[in-house]
Symmetry: C2
Subunit: 202 residues, 2 copies
């Protein structure tokens, strides 16, 4: 065990995803030896993210403003909404240039084993947007794994229940083409673009 501040830093770094005890130690000693200004840029960047980044009031994507860049873009089609789990999934889809609508970020996926039921996701907020924003099409782009599929299937049912002949709602799920069991975040642009283009009605 190290003394005081180094041990504290090793412990804090060890809480980060993908950082084991040895990496935490290596990073801590790296920070100890870099210029003070470099270490301050990192601690400042952490503080800035917590202070300046918030969630878009409309779609819950990350944003520096009340509404995110995408929701504020008048060239996007507000009648089509793509539902994703996390803000990083928005970026992955944006890179494909296949989608010109808006997003809705759920903040996770249904996972009974982790105690995440539908009520912990931003599903109420999605339902509220349907009527208020005149949405006519929903693309379900949750991850192609167990939790993501369960979430898509739950949302498919919930959305069909509010669709009516007077106000029909097209609901689709991004096509497989993505390797099943994988993470949407790691898909390459072509695969993810094809999955978008070949999305199937549910």
């Amino acid at each position: 065990m190290y003394e005081g501040p180094i041990q504290d830093l090793i412990e804090e770094l060890g809480r980060l995803p993908g950082v084991g005890p040895k990496s935490a130690q290596r990073i801590a000693f790296h920070l100890l030896t870099v210029e003070r200004a470099d270490a301050e840029r990192l601690s400042g960047a952490i503080t800035a993210v917590k202070e300046r980044v918030r969630f878009c009031v409309r779609c819950y994507n990350v944003s520096e403003h009340e509404e995110c860049r995408i929701c504020r873009d008048a060239r996007r089609d507000p009648a089509v909404v793509c539902v994703v789990q996390e803000p990083r999934d928005v970026l992955a889809i944006e890179r494909t240039s296949e989608f010109r609508g808006l997003y809705h970020v759920l903040g996770g996926a249904i996972s009974p084993i982790d105690g995440v039921g539908p009520e912990k996701l931003r599903i109420k907020e999605l339902m509220a947007r349907l009527g208020a924003e005149g949405i006519t099409e929903i693309v379900l782009a949750t991850n192609p794994n167990i939790e993501g599929e369960a979430t898509a299937s739950y949302l498919g049912r919930a959305l069909k229940a509010v669709s009516s002949p007077e106000q029909p709602l097209r609901i689709s799920r991004i096509a497989s083409g993505l390797p099943v069991g994988g993470d949407l975040e790691y898909a390459d642009e072509v695969t993810l673009g094809r999955a978008f283009a070949g999305r199937a009605e549910v």
Copy 2:
């Protein structure tokens, strides 16, 4: 690319050793979603390390005080000094409980390819300690790889040159038993303990 602060944080995290672009992104989004207090503990720990941790004036180990915990410990034998490359190596040796002397941290190893000659290491400081502290034995515990061996061999010659019949200096190198080409930091306690116990005169 993300907007402002998130992108800044991803870039700063990506500069850390062993953190690639995908890990940096994952850690940044993790920090975005954790409680503000947790993120502040991390940024505070980084600041604290830079503000409160310094190098021991005697052995150059990390310390919160002018002299480190080991140099201040009256039960340690000040006549025996173990020379290591980095502060993390001190911890690795302490874990073996094989060594009861003091340390001297060089701050690296001789590596012509990286432009590190003997003058960039704390060798002058080691030489100054010899007479001033009445040191009678030096254990060379630099890494068992090319740079560490070169450094041990350089130090072996330099130390022999100042050893005299009136003031003899025992100089030893930790035994192999450590896998060659490896990093002292990753050795298990037993292997490293045996390497210590079986150290050979040079």
